[in-house]
């Protein structure tokens, strides 16, 4: 296998993009990545998108996006793994380059969510759960994560305030991210007094509904200087794990086996351990998710993720800086784009290009992107060259 590098990143301002269509949101981010890399061609493309069919009635994104990018007739593949679609798109691009099949590959992610009303969005997202045995009975995604939160609180004594600290920290980071959807400071009280969504989770425990896209250009590491003047970032590990589709089928509702499996493999592939990771972007679709993920990544003991968040261990100046971009909570969560955007942030951090939210002296970063309640998880480790 060839070593792979990221040589270009692109992202747009996320939010409720009423004036922009699915295709233009994607093409805008993809062109930014191409410009950032400075490449004069793309050999192949992967697109992560969860459910453009339900959100805007559009499938066949391979043709739509290569067409509007002016890239016909290159091969293109749309991949889907619910909210982990973006991470899988990046992983697919890496494998195509590592295998020698292509040299310059674009990995993008997109979701246009705001064209549907709230009930429609809730229904579309619920298709990432077990349609016949979870969604049929009336559950929602906030509801599923609420079940994880309650179980975590019962088993480990995690508190409502500890959950809130995750949102407070991520919003504090998002303030420094010009692309974030909700760059505003909040307090623990803001979270505790927000509207109830699925007890014990409230509105400010939940990531928002977002339109947005992100894109990456990858190529063989040893060809990076041939294709691009940008500082290359090496892909040290690309892994994925899976778990039961239904949350209730798991023996432990509080532990994310798919993430733990992917992380273990990623550490082995990169030849590092959790303590060697300088900066991390995780899938905080809900506050409890970040707590469970940081435990599954081995940053904290099982059950200690809440206390660690409260103590500031995941803040930008903490032992394990998590979600300096603002995470899904503040930056936004256009589901198919999220996994790609996490890599955009880590590449910026490793290049020293992260502006006000730059964490000093970072050499190695990790991304964790998750589908459903953790039915799938993708982990990447990236290193400065």
């Amino acid at each position: 296998m060839r070593d792979v590098a990221v040589i270009g990143v692109g992202i747009n301002k996320w939010g409720e993009l009423w004036e922009h269509s699915l295709r233009n949101i994607f093409v805008d981010a993809a062109l930014k990545a191409i410009d950032d890399a400075g490449v004069d061609h793309v050999d192949s493309m992967y697109v992560g998108c969860m459910t453009s069919g339900l959100f805007v009635g559009q499938e066949h994104l391979s043709s739509l996006f290569t067409d509007y990018m002016g890239l016909n007739p290159i091969p293109a593949t749309r991949v889907e793994s619910a909210c982990a679609s973006g991470g899988v798109a990046f992983r697919s691009a890496i494998m195509e380059v590592a295998s020698g099949m292509s040299d310059v590959v674009l990995a993008g992610g997109v979701e246009k969510m705001n064209d549907l009303d709230g009930g429609g969005v809730t229904f579309a997202l619920a298709t990432a759960s077990d349609q016949e045995y979870e969604a049929y009975n009336g559950i929602t995604f906030p509801g599923l994560y609420a079940l994880m939160a309650r179980a975590h609180m019962e088993k480990y004594g995690t508190t409502r305030e500890q959950l809130a600290h995750v949102a407070v920290k991520n919003h504090a980071n998002g303030v420094l991210n010009p692309d974030a959807q909700f760059p505003m400071k909040i307090t623990v009280d803001t979270v505790l007094n927000s509207v109830e969504v699925a007890d014990p989770l409230r509105l400010m425990d939940c990531s928002p509904v977002t339109d947005g896209a992100a894109a990456l250009i990858v190529c063989p590491l040893d060809m990076a200087s041939k294709f691009s003047k940008a500082t290359p970032v090496r892909v040290a590990a690309s892994t994925m794990g899976t778990d039961t589709i239904a949350l209730h089928s798991r023996s432990d509702l509080t532990f994310l086996n798919s993430t733990a499996t992917a992380a273990e493999k990623a550490y082995a592939m990169a030849g590092v351990g959790p303590r060697d990771i300088d900066v991390t972007e995780v899938h905080d679709c809900f506050t409890i998710a970040e707590i469970c993920v940081t435990e599954a990544l081995g940053y904290f003991e099982k059950g200690q993720g809440g206390a660690a968040a409260e103590a500031g261990a995941t803040a930008r100046d903490g032992e394990f800086p998590v979600n300096p971009s603002g995470g899904l909570k503040s930056k936004g969560h256009p589901v198919g784009a999220t996994g790609v955007a996490q890599v955009v942030e880590i590449v910026k951090q490793l290049r020293g290009d992260a502006g006000e939210r730059q964490i000093k002296g970072v050499k190695r970063g990790l991304t964790q992107n998750m589908g459903g309640t953790g039915g799938s998880s993708v982990v990447h480790i990236l290193e400065a060259v």
Binding site: G118, G143, R150, E154, V197, D199, P200
Partner: protein, 130 residues
């Protein structure tokens, strides 16, 4: 929902029919074609117990569109008879009486309906047993 799709799941939704691996004994709800534990492919049909225990619960305040008339409502992961877990609504209860470890009993109830003249869809819900 089409009639065929609804009727396919009737054995599970009406009768809690599950499958027990004939080699290792693991119980699956709904039934599946291969055991995830021992990879055996033969099963005997069993019915889940209608008594169980709450493993976790939530109160849904923001429902999906097809449940909008029912919010707020409680949902729980319930372990039935020590065999298999289901995710189900817990109804006819004061939310303050819900607790992890609480005992529940399965009842046959209406779950949802397709629009104003659509098919009524039935299945299992739980009520508190103590």
């Amino acid at each position: 929902m089409t009639t065929a799709r609804y009727w396919r799941e009737v054995p599970q939704r009406f009768r809690l029919e599950a499958a027990k691996c004939s080699k290792c004994g693991k119980v699956f709800f709904p039934p599946r074609l291969i055991c995830d534990a021992c990879k055996h492919r033969e099963f005997e049909q069993v019915n889940l117990s209608d008594e169980g225990e709450i493993l976790s619960y939530t109160i849904i305040h923001t429902p999906p569109s097809n449940f909008s008339d029912e919010a707020p409502y409680a949902m729980a992961v319930v372990r039935l008879g020590g065999d298999a877990n289901v995710l189900t609504q817990v109804v006819d209860c004061d939310f303050d009486d819900l607790k992890v470890g609480g005992k529940v009993r399965v009842e046959f109830r209406r779950i949802q309906e397709d629009g104003k003249s659509g098919v009524l869809q039935y299945g299992y819900k739980c009520v508190l047993a103590d």
